[in-house]
Amino acid sequence: MISTAITDLYYGFGVALEPHNLMYCFLGVLVGNLVGVLPGMGPVATISILLPLTFGMQPVPAILMLSGVYYGAQYGGAICSILLNLPCHPPHAVTCLDGFPLTKQGKGGTALGITIIAAFVGASFGITEMIFLAPFLVKVALEFGPAEVCSLMLVGLLAGSTLAKGSPLKGIAMTVLGLLVGIVGSDIETGQPRFTFGITELFDGVEIIALALGMFGIAEFLNSINNTETVDMKYAKVGISDMFPSKADLKLAFWPMIRGTLLGSLCALIPGTGPTIASFVSYATEKKISKTPERFGHGAIEGVACPEASTHSSVQGDFIPTMSLGIPGDTVMALLLGALIIHGIVPGPQLITQHADIFWGLIASFWIGNILLVILNVPMIGVWVKLLSIPYRYLYPSAMFFVCIGVYAANNDMFQVGETVVIGVVGYILLRLDFHPAPILLGFVLGPRFEENFRRSLLISRGDLTTFIERPISAFFLLICVVLIVAQVYVWLRKPKIIEEERAIERQVPTTPYSEVAE
């Protein structure tokens, strides 16, 4: 099996190194790195804006580019946290705790250097995990009938909504709302228009780009306008020569990096626990097992290395369930899944065999992209630091332009722009009521497939609901759902110490209005 994986990987490099694919991969990581640095722009909004522009492209370069934005943004996100104490990107919020004290001590460059090394180590492990695990998962998943797919989706939806930020109850409510939004449009089997209110433009359903840009673009601008601080650039001076960490620092960071990587890759396998949770968990663990926990929060290099490695390994591992099972773990993956569907590729276990070029090309492009990012970040650190000082008053109007034209370009239809504005207002209201919008997108993308499989499995069983329990794999997934719910009730009633400790760390992280939705 290992030898096949290596041959396939070799083929993947062939795909990814085609000049035109390579160019789009580079473009993706460059744009990703850029928006990662900019406060108030996240990969979700960026991928949604870029998505309509890929309609004319071949699927392979399109997916390579859009994925590049996601992992590229992770490289940029840490810069904001370390140099400005601004957690613009939730996965890197915890890096502020030790990254910014290091910057104040004049060791910001070292922290960035360690971050890049940790990122590369974490990402490499995540990719390796994907190479060997995804084909294995596919073998299992090919046995799945509609009942199993249905139960598995239920696990994905429940995990995505309960393990994310905020109240789990509200998370589930948002998932259900997402499923309802996914219903808008003509019914697949009967063609009956549902929830369209007589508007012909809605017969095709709500546009995924309008939903993502409304929730993660316009709602976010409404939330953060005149609500942001002018950034303090006092400490943000870093040269290339500062970025090479000393041997002592490397030695100190080595084991935390490995532990972070392993924790991150574990988190990636549990649906719903994306990079943000991975980084918090690994920081808490590292602090706990450290011999000198009092150094954490005052510039411990381990407190930078561990969460960063874990974030990156989790980001790459995130692709495993999406690509092998067609079940996205978080918002960005839901969006990428949407992109695959738009490009006419049916996500699911058959993807690896039917579209080997996409799957193996993507994996190979991860390696290439990560190497490009390392090369990109060291000499260009000065440019990125300059970008940090772009004031928000220039940023959000320009972003609004990209939102408008991006949505328009998707279908050359102004109706969609209006749709985005309405969704943005609704998104802001939900945000004000402490609903986190991420599960909406998850529910929206999975909704139609969930309904289709649910109908089909009950058609096969002639309306017998026990089919979901009688089939062992499906019963196993339902058991996980029950465990998830019971665990949430337990946490709510008993408030276990571990969760409280993690919450305490979360509270230490400085808050910005940006970090609400920029996932």
Binding site: L169, A173, E229, R432, R507
Partner: protein
């Protein structure tokens, strides 16, 4: 009513920041505390019931042969139930909640500008073309910032328009005439 003092950054989400120094409890009448979670639960209840009612207008079918109305009704009921749960748990919880829906410093003008931008983009896009639409959208949005002046907004809008035309019209050639009626 307690005076609420807020820091510049955390203004939007004060109640989550437990380390903050702000007095959060705000009593509305004796003994009754209005909580935001009541609105949240209420909204979900309304949406759920609404979906179920509209959904019941479509054919429901049976379990073996589900009609198009099956899922909407089911999901609507689940959402309504979740709404009740959200409001119910808020009743039981003793966590402080300031009960206000609007943020402490509502940005009516800023919000208006952000929403007016895309509205102008739509209208001018349909009747006048890409250049006026993009310029108006960015200009109006930029005015929403409290430090934005007519001049700074116009400069930004002009810059974005030039960039946008080069990228989207010439490089990506999306079908959107620069100025309607004039062949550029």
């Amino acid at each position: 009513m307690a005076a609420i003092s807020t820091g510049p950054v955390t203004t939007g989400r004060v109640e989550k920041n437990h380390t903050g120094d702000t007095p959060l409890q705000e009593k509305i009448g004796p003994g009754i505390k209005l909580k935001r979670d009541y609105y949240a639960g209420g909204l979900m209840l309304v949406l759920g019931v609404g979906a179920a009612v509209i959904g019941s207008g479509y054919k429901f079918g049976t379990l073996a042969r589900m009609g198009p109305g099956f899922m909407p009704v089911m999901l609507g009921c689940v959402l309504a139930f979740l709404g009740l749960l959200i409001a119910g748990t808020a009743l039981a919880s003793s966590e402080p909640d300031n009960g206000k829906f609007l943020p402490d410093n509502p940005q009516w003008f800023g919000w208006l500008c952000i929403l007016a931008g895309p509205a102008l983009f739509i209208v001018l896009g349909i009747y006048a073309g890409m250049i006026p639409a993009v310029f108006a959208c960015v200009f109006v949005c930029a005015l929403g910032d409290k430090t934005g002046t007519y001049k700074s907004s116009a400069v930004l809008a002009a810059g974005v328009t030039v960039f946008g035309v080069l990228l989207f019209h010439y490089l990506l050639s999306i079908p959107f005439p620069l100025i309607r009626g004039v062949n550029l």
